[in-house]
Symmetry: C2
Subunit: 188 residues, 2 copies
Amino acid sequence: MARPKAFDTEIALDAAMGVFREHGYEGTSAEMLLDAMKIGRQSLYDTFGDKWRLYQATLRRYCQLEGHGHVTALRGQDRAFDGIRAMIDRVVADPRSPCLGVSSACEFGQTKPELDAIKVAADHVLRTAMVARIQEAQADGDVSPDLQANEIVDFLYASFAGIRIAARSGADHPRLEALGRTTLRALR
Amino acid sequence: MARPKAFDTEIALDAAMGVFREHGYEGTSAEMLLDAMKIGRQSLYDTFGDKWRLYQATLRRYCQLEGHGHVTALRGQDRAFDGIRAMIDRVVADPRSPCLGVSSACEFGQTKPELDAIKVAADHVLRTAMVARIQEAQADGDVSPDLQANEIVDFLYASFAGIRIAARSGADHPRLEALGRTTLRALR
DNA sequence: AAGCAACTTGACTGATCGTTCCAAAACAGC
DNA sequence: GCTGTTTTGGAACGATCAGTCAAGTTGCTT
């Protein structure tokens, strides 16, 4: 064994995530990353490979954190419908930090298989949790039986993206809340 | 008088718009623009100023075209609700061309006053047209009177952004149609 | 205590960035 | 056909890009 790292990999990753969320991939320079992560140039390349692999790592971590947060909110309420509401509230409450998933979709579309793979994996776990809770809410009579659970998941995904873009465009909290309310109302 | 331009400014602008839509501002290089616009380096700088002003010009043009398209769809039907449906269908039908408004919001947030001004102006004309048609649809009994027209506009904006991001993420046509249906249903 | 493997630091690489300069080519009016 | 203005294309600018190299430093292991 030898000298241990002087920085925490996860903390550095979170710092990098913040920069990528704010400026996108192309808009982020190595200098900006080093400043935010507070590590040396070589440490970055030794630890994370290169800018592109670092970006993938941040997206992977973001999907994990975000997916976990959503599932927690979803399951944190007794009534399934309240769980769905909690998930929407989470998006609305999240002040103005842009979503890395949305921004990477904007920036790259489907041109990068590596990113697609990360998103597909994240989608899988969240979607199954959501479908289960939505069907539960339908059984409770809180969500219309006319809608297919999978379509509702797509609709909620799209709404989340829309709410986040509204926030990034400067919509204030009341307007975001109204968006959340209208989204939830659409399920009835 | 002297030698006239060998290219059409609007056509070149549309070509630039295509590149910016596909790759964003930071992801677009001068070379890519020149290739797409099929003009010389100096012509670009003489005619459009620089990359940033060219981007503003494309965003301005995009907002005009897109706003006009939406208003036309909105007013092209007898029944107000059908007009709203037509507007949504327009977004769903638009194959996979990313929205410059969404991508610029992602990339820059509110950090660029010049862009904000362009969007505010575009929002104004479209919003008034939408509010009018929504209130008409409410009077017809097609849209719930519980909802405020302005909130519905925000909701539709957010939905459009969501649908476009879904498309950019690879959602196929049936899924986009389902999103459009769910969005429209939310207004009832 | 000594040695060594890993981490850190900062100078440096070629490539590419957006932009400008310059001279040649092209067209309008006389 | 000439003159004058504008467009054009290519070469060139400094700045910055992502990434590398080579010392120098640190702390674990024996």
